[in-house]
């Protein structure tokens, strides 16, 4: 039996593969809180959101974490729950933001929102499920600052991607 695949499925698969590559590269980066990462793979999610809509972006976001953790061998480990929590939160906030009347957000706005949600959720998961220690709260402002910076960076990259592709067209 041949599994029927749609154009969208192919798209999702390609983009997910791309996101996983970034996800893997990122997992090698050091972090003050093990498992809490800047979320550069967000670049793909945001680009997909802007270009193909929230549905595809959500698929890419979730698949990226699932497949990425299988590749890294962290499936169902604390790291996985951190990434998964982050991905779900960022997809959720992107979904809400993209429904706001008048579509006021561009890649930068989406990216910063998503990075903040991503970091806040990871922190929440880490704090409530793994290390409920007061010292951790001390890290929160730094981590959220990092999230804003990485959000701006990713958002700018996405915006630049679209600008250059527009020029070529």
């Amino acid at each position: 039996m041949i599994l029927q695949t749609t154009r969208e499925d192919h798209l999702i698969a390609w983009l997910t593969a791309l996101a996983i590559t970034i996800h893997l590269a990122e997992s090698a980066l050091p972090s003050p809180l093990p498992g809490v990462k800047p979320g550069l793979a967000n670049i793909i999610t945001i680009a997909v959101l802007v270009r193909f809509g929230w549905r595809v972006a959500a698929w890419v976001g979730v698949l990226r974490v699932l497949v990425g953790s299988l590749v890294l061998g962290t499936f169902l480990s604390p790291t996985f729950f951190l990434s998964f929590g982050g991905a779900v939160a960022s997809i959720a906030i992107l979904g809400l933001a993209s429904l706001v009347p008048g579509r006021p957000f561009g890649p930068l706005g989406y990216s910063v929102l998503s990075a903040l949600a991503h970091m806040a959720a990871q922190f929440g998961v880490a704090y409530y499920f793994f290390i409920p220690h007061a010292a951790l709260l001390h890290l929160l402002p730094v981590l959220m600052t990092a999230a804003v910076i990485f959000g701006i960076v990713s958002g700018t990259i996405v915006a630049a991607m679209f600008r250059s592709s527009e020029k070529r067209c």
């Binding site: 706005g109 903040l116 929160l140």
Partner: protein, 119 residues
């Protein structure tokens, strides 16, 4: 940049500065302890600054030492020294007292891990 992006950046800036104020601002440096003397609050002390506090009581002066985020009675004019034997306190909710000298100390944790302690 879209108008919404600007709004997001603005909100992000507000959120982050708020977090710094809340978790790094004055009086929030981790945990602190409240020292009571003779039935009323004598002083709130930070557990992040090494210091020896001289607290007056009816029998004389008790000394409370703060070091490495912990506090303890290091000297007291009472006889049984139960307060000193209580040792270091570091968790939110932990307490020790010198009953004869009517001085007590309780650690107030940021996360207040325990609402009360059975001892």
């Amino acid at each position: 940049m879209r108008p919404g992006d600007l709004l997001v950046l603005l909100l992000a800036a507000v959120l982050v500065s708020y977090l710094y104020l809340a978790f790094w601002g004055p009086g929030t440096a981790g945990e602190y302890a409240v020292i009571h003397a003779n039935g009323s609050e004598w002083q709130k002390v930070s557990l992040h600054e090494e210091h020896e506090w001289q607290v007056p009581g009816p029998l004389g002066t008790s000394t409370l030492e703060v070091r490495d985020g912990r506090i303890r009675f290091s000297d007291s004019p009472c006889q049984n020294k139960a307060c000193i034997h209580s040792g270091w306190l570091s968790h939110g909710g932990e307490a020790a007292a010198c009953l004869p000298n009517r001085i007590s100390v309780q650690v107030i944790g940021r996360d207040r891990r325990y609402d009360s302690i059975s001892f």
